[in-house]
Symmetry: C2
Subunit: 208 residues, 2 copies
C-alpha cells in the first residue's frame, strides 16, 4: 500500500497545490498562510501538516516535481537534428520541447516568473530596466517590421544587462566599478557577439 497511491492522499495534495496557485494569483505569494490555504482548499488545517512541513516545504516539493520532469525531458536534439531544423527554419527541437513543457505547466511557471523579484524593489526593477532600455540603439526597435516582436528584443536587452549588474553583485563586486562600466558600454555598443570576439581592446581593460 503505497502512500502515493492512496486516493485520499492524491486528492488532498491536489487540493493543496490548486489552492496555493489560486491564493498566489489572488493575493501574492507573501499573503499565503496555511490557514487561508487550507480554507481555500476546503480541508482541515491539520491535513496540510500531514503532507508538508510548512509553506516553503510545499513550494520546494512542487519545485522538485517540476525539476524532475524537466530533467527527464527526452533530449531530441543531436547536432544533426539541429542542422536539419536550421535548414527548414524551424526551432531547435530541444527549445521547442522546453517551451511546450512550460506551456503545459503554465500555472506553475506563471507564478514562478510573476514572483521573480516581486518581494522587494518591484518598482526599482522597472526603473532600472527602463533606464537600460533608454540605452538601446533606437534603430533596432523602430526600423521596419521585425522578424521577432520588438517587445521581445527589449526584454532580451534589458534583462541581459540587468543580469550583468546582478552578476556583479552576486560575485561580491570583485570587478572594479570602472571595468564593469567599460564592459556594459561595450555590450551596449557592440553587442555580446562582437564584444566576445573582438580581441583588440582586451589590454585596455583595467588599465586605469
Amino acid at each position: 500500500m503505497d502512500k502515493n497511491e492512496d486516493l485520499r492522499v492524491i486528492r488532498s495534495r491536489r487540493l493543496i497545490e490548486d489552492a496555493f496557485f489560486t491564493l498566489v494569483e489572488e493575493e501574492g505569494i507573501e499573503a499565503v498562510t496555511v490557514r487561508k490555504l487550507t480554507a481555500q482548499a476546503g480541508i482541515n488545517r491539520g491535513t496540510f501538516y500531514l503532507h508538508y512541513q510548512d509553506i516553503y516545504d510545499l513550494m520546494e516539493k512542487m519545485e522538485d516535481r517540476i525539476m524532475e520532469q524537466m530533467k527527464q525531458l527526452p533530449v531530441k536534439s543531436g547536432p544533426q537534428e539541429m542542422l536539419s531544423a536550421e535548414m527548414k527554419g524551424e526551432p531547435f527541437p530541444s527549445i521547442a520541447q522546453f517551451i511546450d513543457f512550460m506551456n503545459e505547466e503554465h500555472r506553475f511557471f506563471q507564478v514562478f516568473f510573476a514572483q521573480e523579484g516581486a518581494l522587494f524593489g518591484k518598482r526599482l526593477r522597472v526603473l532600472i530596466q527602463d533606464s537600460i532600455v533608454d540605452k538601446i540603439p533606437k534603430p533596432l526597435l523602430t526600423s521596419e517590421p521585425l522578424p521577432v516582436p520588438a517587445d521581445y528584443i527589449v526584454a532580451y536587452f534589458s534583462s541581459a544587462h540587468f543580469g550583468v549588474i546582478k552578476h556583479w553583485f552576486n560575485t561580491g563586486r570583485a570587478l572594479p566599478p570602472y571595468d564593469l562600466a567599460v564592459t556594459l558600454t561595450r555590450l551596449i555598443k557592440d553587442g555580446p557577439l562582437l564584444t566576445a570576439l573582438n580581441q583588440q581592446p582586451a589590454n585596455r581593460l583595467s588599465e586605469s
Copy 2:
C-alpha cells in the same frame, strides 16, 4: 520643527535600516520580523511603528529614497560626451555614474539583487539558466582571453533568454509557443543584433 530634522528620529530610522540589512544578510528576507528587527536595532518595538506601518512599508520607503536619488543623478551624457568617450575607449559617463551610485549604495543593492527570485524556485532558476547556458555557442566562451570576463558573457546570455521567457509569461503567453521557440532559436543562433536586422525570415514566423 521638522520631523525629518529631529536627531532622535534620524537616529531611530538609521538604526532600523541598518538592522534590516544586517538581518537580511544573516537570515534572508523571509525571516525578518518587526520583533527581531527592533531587537537587533536595540530600540523599542513600538518605536518601529512610529515610523513605518510594517516591514513592507519600510522596504518601500527605502526603495523610494533610492529611486529618488537615481532619478536625480545628473545626466552627464549628451551625444557629444558619448562620442568622445567612445573615442577614448572609456565607458559612457551615464553608465559609469549609474554604477558608481550602485556601488556607493551597495548594501541596498546587494540585498536587492540577492533576493531577486530567492523566495520561490531558487534552484529551478539555476536549472533553467544552466540549460540555457548549454545552448550558448561554445567558441564564444573558450576562445582566447576575452575583452570581458567569460562569466559576464554567460550572465549576459542566460539572463537575456531567461528574461525573454519571463516576458512571455508576463504577457499572458500571447505569442504561440511555436513562435516563441522560433524567436529563441534565432536569438541563440544569430544573436539579437542579426535577429533584429535580418528581415528576410520575417514572413516565416507563425506560418505553421
